[in-house]
Subunit: 654 residues, 2 copies
């Protein structure tokens, strides 16, 4: 009787299906790929061992075929961008060092070749990059410049005498820093440098930079020795990510052939003359950066995946750990039964769902745009803005959620064998790399306030402000998700003064939209006022900086809520849909609670209704408590990737 | 001309003097003691090496004489309790592993001997404990019970046949866990166990426990082998604290002489009969615990010291790091000049001052009470409550502040060589050990609500609630700090509706007091109401749990503000005093901002004045910005204990 049947899907399965979204199949494939001993979560503090293990895992990944997804068919890949991003981001469930290393190799280095290079580069580099016959690194950040990458100091000066570029680090702060792969494994670097092309008879130090461009520069021989003129060094121990060999690179007049310039957006011809399809230096640079948006999307997604692992571990622990006597019983109380414990974890789980739905939309948009031959600059800019916003939301969330999970597991949470501390340590830098969160938040607001005007990119904060004063006007709010359903919810909302209306989805949507619009339009007005009033333009900028950041955060909150609504609408199972509705309420109420003073001050919430917000949160915690196991099952982390000894150790009764 | 003069003290020196308080001399001595190569901050990830290094540092510390401070003169110490606590807590500036190891040896193990033992124990153990000829550990927590230590499962059963106690771990969850020193170095454990003394003819399993008592139990021989019946194991890697050898102990019917019971509060006589000066089992246990309050005070103080190191590093970095062009200048902008950066760091520095002043008061009270032969149970309970509250405030603060410092230093902050990640990792467990912060916060509220009633200690949450319903009434608020000046400020306050009144110290004090009183009295009323309404007493408890926690937090905020006011009053230098005033404003306004919705909802803040809170914070950030270097100098962390390579590395211009 060897008939095996598909088991009937549980509500947890339906939730996972809903949260996986259109990338369900890719995600299932990654889960299966990671179900082997080599990918079980591990803690390997020794740098040498950890780096070797990560490299070995990378080689196993090439066999899975996922590495080819990030490259176009004509370059030797499969061209499935959504799968490329998703398969890298979900490596976070196994090991964040692996995720970062894979992201550097196939996402950043490979992405630079793919998107900034042309045919000659694709032919030469794509296949060995996929197969790991070529290990690359992405040398953008310098010791002196991380956020302001337009001001990088490394130079690539064209020498017509030899038809070469000379790569040079002119100052100590021009040193490439924190570069994953630079300490040990990478033999080639995608180096970002000021491109200097002297015209005939002009000395090179008189020539202006054409802006930052990317060149491929060999840095090590096959034995791992630095090539002449290259000096690499090791960043050593970090807060986490022991399997990533971050390092530094100093160039001393290193020569590479002219053809090593990744020349899709700017080239030097055989006569030593610079050409570019984009005239404006700054716009050119940001167009190049824009093609690399995938990295930012992957980092946000990975942080979210790590947070989902932590929330699953902490919730399961809360469902087995007991403390303090229960009344009229010999048992002790499950810690998940304490309201305070529910309030620690359940709103974070709710937010994890919202962010997951928003990330799905983002990845779908990315895939659509990158497969669309008709480039649409406006849509591309919106994608970049969304990517920046969700990178901030996901990584801030991960830092906060994993910390809360650690604390919610007490002393057990502090042991490496229970994984939470490693998740925290490894993801801690995610708020910094691929764009510092504070800087990115500002970028989101800048773009919204000036309607994606071309000129804005690359402006310093003060320059931008001068510009913004003239152009800010009606801020355009675009909805990407489920336009129809959201409009219906808005139209049928019941936002009267009664507290029940807080739980009306249309009212919630309206409150989120209204806060965003108000903050954006008042930020615009305050910008203009401050600029007229303050003598020093930097003071004027400073005067409104916190308001501008608040506007961006309100925008991101709204995007996540709309994605949540769309995600619920797509769910096929009624029970799962109902739980998602409760979770969405919990997300919306938590956001309102977090900015409650604003809503009251701006007369969007009466004092009476404000008090109902906390009650609403507590009620939803109580409603969701019996489904705690189910809703973490929906987060889609397989048991074999939890890696927490306490979930089956002694002293538990669960 | 070899005349050397004391340099004129700077404002930073005056601030440091003020923040050091009455323990200035002790703190200066610790700073001098730590100024040698062996105590420079280091990162030693390998467990074996880190543990060996910590032990070596411990031996150097014994030479400094500070270890004797925690013991009475008649036992071989110096009896300077304030110096004992302070000299351990400031080790955090050098290395938190060292601080924890010293705290375990001299604070917890030594404290158990000192406070729970009697003459025979003092004679035998105090001197070798001071000199490190005896390495001890403090075996309280078990795998199954950390917060609810009254429910520990380890048993110590008296066997009249041999006049011994039999120490036993009856279940897997009875295993002693996370015990510092148990993995490797400790040869003796202060073991907390249910004391079972069968009366004649009664089988031991029929005897009731006299409650948890402490016994000294040898666990290892001099070669480091487990003694018969003892099985130790290693907790392995943790989130941080690599120099502390945390481990587990399982006892299998281990026999120790009757005299090994630390018998100050409960003893078994030579006839096998149990006696205690305290009849009530629970009260007895909490009296014992109360004598160990020093550990909790030290942990809070150490967390604060670590946060001061992090704030100093991040602020100095913000004063040398530049990013983005300044208008009309070739320079880039110092990141500390951005308002958003000021708002990240300056309010935390302000809070660090407030917490420092509060900690000084707490340590002074501890020293006074422990040197006072006339035991005053009420004052002791208040001390314990204050210790619990400030442990929560200091450790929550450290976790949040160090995280913010890491992020404020970007990628550089993530490198181990810049120390912030190690400070974060090492202190992360401080919110958990010596009492989980959520549990302690509840304890603070419980004690306040029931006026330190004896019966309350040791009650489960629900038991306490049943009790509280009958006794809560007028909540007594006691002021320890600067009664006179605070009353004057309150009496002369100008809390009208104008926004300027928010910056009146009396108004701020009044707002803090009022919020605490309101939350406590309404918590009491809600407790009673919930208990009458809900069928299940646990549901009733859950219903008000968040309100109870909010009341405790409001209490702690008020205690810190009052200590801040007293600290300013004690400062002798006018310029320093003025800066402290600005910092105090910033602290008070930040607390109000953090709970602004509450103040508005409860009509303590009009919508108009509420908007002025943010403006007030921003203004104080601007005022304090030019003094950023000075105010971190006042935090009292010597340059040689910063241990951050970036503060003198390349790429800086500071």
């Amino acid at each position: 009787m060897a008939i095996t049947r598909e088991p009937t899907p549980t509500t947890g399965d339906h939730l996972r299906r809903a949260l996986d979204g259109v990338l369900h199949d890719t995600k299932e494939k990654v889960r299966v790929d990671l179900n082997r001993d080599e990918f079980l979560p591990h803690y390997t503090p020794d740098l040498e061992q950890a780096r070797a293990k990560t490299l070995e895992q990378m080689r196993l990944l090439t066999a899975s075929g996922n590495a080819a997804n990030g490259f176009r068919v004509e370059h030797g890949g499969t061209g499935d961008v959504g799968a490329a991003v998703t398969s890298i981001e979900l490596l976070a469930m196994s090991d964040l060092s692996l995720m970062v290393k894979a992201g550097v190799q196939w996402g950043l280095f490979g992405g630079a070749i793919e998107n900034l290079g042309t045919e000659r580069h694709h032919e030469q580099y794509v296949k060995p990059t996929i197969d790991l016959d070529l290990l690359g690194c992405f040398a953008m950040t310098e010791t002196g410049h991380g956020s302001d990458v337009q001001a990088l100091e490394t130079t690539a000066t064209y020498d017509p005498a030899t038809d070469e570029f000379v790569i040079h680090s002119p100052t100590p702060s021009a040193r490439k820093d924190y570069i994953g792969g630079a300490a040990q494994h990478a033999t080639m670097a995608a180096v970002f440098a000021q491109l200097i092309v002297p015209t005939e008879g002009q000395p090179s130090d008189a020539a202006e930079s054409q802006g930052v461009h990317c060149l491929v520069v060999p840095i090590r021989d096959e034995q791992g020795n630095d090539l002449p003129g290259v000096t690499t060094s090791d960043c050593g121990y970090k807060g986490g990510l022991p399997g990533v060999d971050n390092g530094r690179i100093v160039f001393d007049h290193v020569r590479v052939p002219r053809n090593n310039l990744l020349n899709r957006y700017g080239d030097v011809d055989e006569n030593g003359v610079y050409h570019s399809p984009i005239e404006n230096t700054s716009r050119r640079f940001f167009t190049m950066l824009g093609t690399l948006v995938r990295g930012r999307i992957t980092v946000g997604g990975s942080a979210a995946a790590a947070a989902r692992v932590a929330l699953t571990i902490a919730t399961k622990y809360g469902l087995q750990r007991r403390q303090f006597d229960a009344p009229e019983s010999d048992d002790e109380i499950l810690i998940m039964d304490y309201l305070v414990h529910q309030r620690r974890l359940l709103p974070l789980i709710a937010r994890a769902y919202g962010l997951g739905f928003a990330q799905n939309e983002l990845v779908s948009t990315l895939a659509r745009l990158q497969n669309d031959p008709s480039e649409n600059p406006q849509e591309q800019r919106e994608l970049e803005n969304r990517a920046a916003g969700l990178k901030v939301a996901n990584t801030d969330f991960a830092t906060r959620a994993i910390q809360e999970c650690r604390e919610a597991c007490g002393g057990a949470g502090y042991l490496m064998e229970n994984r939470l501390v490693a998740l925290k340590a490894d993801t801690d830098v995610f708020t910094t790399f691929e764009g510092d969160n504070k800087v990115l938040t500002q970028l989101v607001a800048k773009e919204l306030l000036t309607g994606y005007a071309d000129e804005v990119q690359g402006m310093s904060p003060v320059e931008w402000m001068r510009f913004a004063v003239d152009v800010v006007g009606d801020v355009v709010k675009k909805r990407t998700a489920a336009q129809q359903i959201i409009q219906t919810l808005l139209d049928t909302r019941k936002d009267n003064e009664e507290e029940g209306s807080l739980f009306d989805r249309g009212t919630q949507l309206d409150m989120f939209c209204d806060r965003e619009e108000y903050l954006l339009s008042t930020a615009a007005r305050r910008l203009q006022g401050a600029f007229k009033r303050e003598d020093d333009p930097f003071d004027a900028f400073n005067f409104v900086q916190d308001h501008v950041l608040a506007a961006a955060r309100a925008h991101i909150d709204r995007v996540v809520l709309e994605a949540f609504v769309a995600g619920i609408d797509d769910c096929k199972d009624d029970t799962a849909k109902e739980l998602l509705g409760e979770l969405c309420d919990l997300y919306a109420l938590s956001v309102i609670d977090g900015d409650k003073a604003w809503f009251i001050e701006h007369r969007r919430l009466s004092v009476e209704r404000a008090k109902a917000v906390t009650r609403g949160i507590n009620e939803r915690c109580r409603t969701l408590r019996p489904h705690a196991e189910t809703i973490v099952t929906g987060l889609g982390v397989p048991d074999y990737l939890l890696g927490a000894a306490m979930l089956d150790g002694p002293g538990t009764d669960g």
